[in-house]
Amino acid sequence: MQDEPTPEELVKVVADFLRNEIAPAIKGHNAFKLRVGINALDLVSRQLALEQGGDASEAARLKRLLGVDGSLLELNRALSEKIASGELDLQTPGLAEHLWQTTMDKLAVDQPNYGSYKRELGTK
């Protein structure tokens, strides 16, 4: 068992330090790059918090849709092949819901301020 603080806490404290103490003192192109860097750390924070739950429910849905077991990568490969071949399509019960939920879970990590995501969440 690793000691504390947790990775979540460490990433957050670094991002907050850069945002609150360093960013105001940086100008020009490096200010832009620093902002991208802070965004990356915030993304990592969200992924550390959300990935496990999202992956588990994605895997459960994929197993139900496909009727087979496997790693998340294998299951996504199998689903992709079945969509490409036309064996599964938007008429397939559960497929659209699965793609929507999976995509919403990705946006929650990647880009929670993206306009389409906020609209679909019903918050904008």
Partner: protein
């Protein structure tokens, strides 16, 4: 050092030029550079832009039409009265500056967030969609006989290209598969009319002033194809920057865009535009995945590239909104 080279070059064709000043690199990767500088002459200063592949970088990769063709296209657009900078000089071997050209610098804004939010563009925003419709129609009407040699594209080839590129990444994406399937099922086939297509007609390549559209830049992806491609690409949600209810660049409606286009004497096929919007959304998604590849494999191991890789999911939600909208 580049100022000395530019100074020698400019003196050879600009009457009364005594030198150049203020040279600064604007953007570009290893194989293509954009520089801004001022030409000093008896009458004052003239703003100029150098667009070049530095010495040693001659060949244009894959889809790019090449800098010589870009120069010809910009000059043709300028001569036809379209918002396009005048080409001042095409680089010659004796200039020692590589391949490329020097054009007039058009002042204005290319950053979408400023164009969409800053007060100085408030009067321009409601006019832009219609203006861009007229500009697109002008581009599509340039006389084919005078155009340089360009690759010819159609929707079927484009689907196959995107599929090959996406499969090359080796990572399954069910939403992309759904989009490819939709594109094949709705492929309208080759357009009856083949015209010049700008190929990257969107924010970032449009210089906007308080008075409206001032210039169309970056003809790198120009080709012959379906003119509706330019209109569809302009409507892709990735270029709305949060203003998702204004499909044209976050500032206007399809109706305004189409009205401007038809006002200039050309016809719009809204189904084809929709098809190219879906294609464009997938294309930007595949491009984001490509950024991630370039980040991981080099040579561009930059933070920006890495983070653009995490934007491909934005195109997945947009594809679902287009192809499998949820009832509200």
């Amino acid at each position: 050092m580049i100022e000395e080279q530019l100074g020698r070059c400019v003196a050879s064709w600009y009457k009364g030029a005594s030198g150049v000043t203020g040279a600064a690199r604007l953007s570009g990767g290893a194989s293509q550079e954009t520089w801004t500088f001022d030409i000093i002459h008896a009458g004052g200063v003239t703003g100029a832009i150098l667009r070049r592949a530095p010495p040693g970088y001659g060949a244009s990769p894959g889809r790019a039409c090449g800098l010589d063709a870009e120069a010809v296209l910009m000059q043709l657009a300028h001569d036809a009265g379209l918002p396009s900078p005048r080409v001042l000089h095409v680089l010659q071997p004796e200039d020692g500056l590589g391949a490329g050209f020097i054009m007039q610098r058009i002042e204005g804004e290319t950053i979408a967030r400023k164009i969409l939010r800053d007060e100085q563009f408030a009067k321009a925003r409601p006019m832009l969609a219609r203006q861009l419709g007229q500009v697109a129609a002008g581009i599509h009407s340039l006389p084919a006989l005078r155009l340089p040699k360009l690759r010819e594209m159609n929707s079927t080839k484009e689907i196959a290209d995107l599929e090959r590129e996406y499969h090359g990444f080796g990572r399954p994406r069910p939403v992309f598969e759904l989009a490819l399937r939709w594109l094949r099922a709705h492929d309208p086939g080759p357009s009856r009319e083949l015209t010049l297509v700008h190929g990257d007609f969107r924010h970032g390549n449009l210089v906007i002033g308080p008075d409206g559209v001032r210039a169309v830049l970056d003809w790198e992806l120009a080709h012959f194809g379906d003119p509706m491609e330019d209109l569809g690409w302009l409507c892709v949600n990735s270029w709305r920057f949060g203003e998702i209810d204004k499909p044209v660049g976050g500032f206007g409606s399809r109706e305004e865009l189409f009205a401007g286009y038809e006002q200039a004497g050309r016809k719009v096929d809204p189904d084809r535009v929709k098809f190219w919007e879906v294609m464009g959304t997938l294309r930007w998604g595949v491009m984001c995945c490509g950024m991630m590849q370039r980040f991981r494999q080099g040579p561009d191991h930059s933070l920006e590239r890495a983070m653009i890789g995490r934007r491909s999911s934005e195109t997945e939600i947009d594809l679902l909104r287009l192809l499998a909208p949820r009832e509200k």
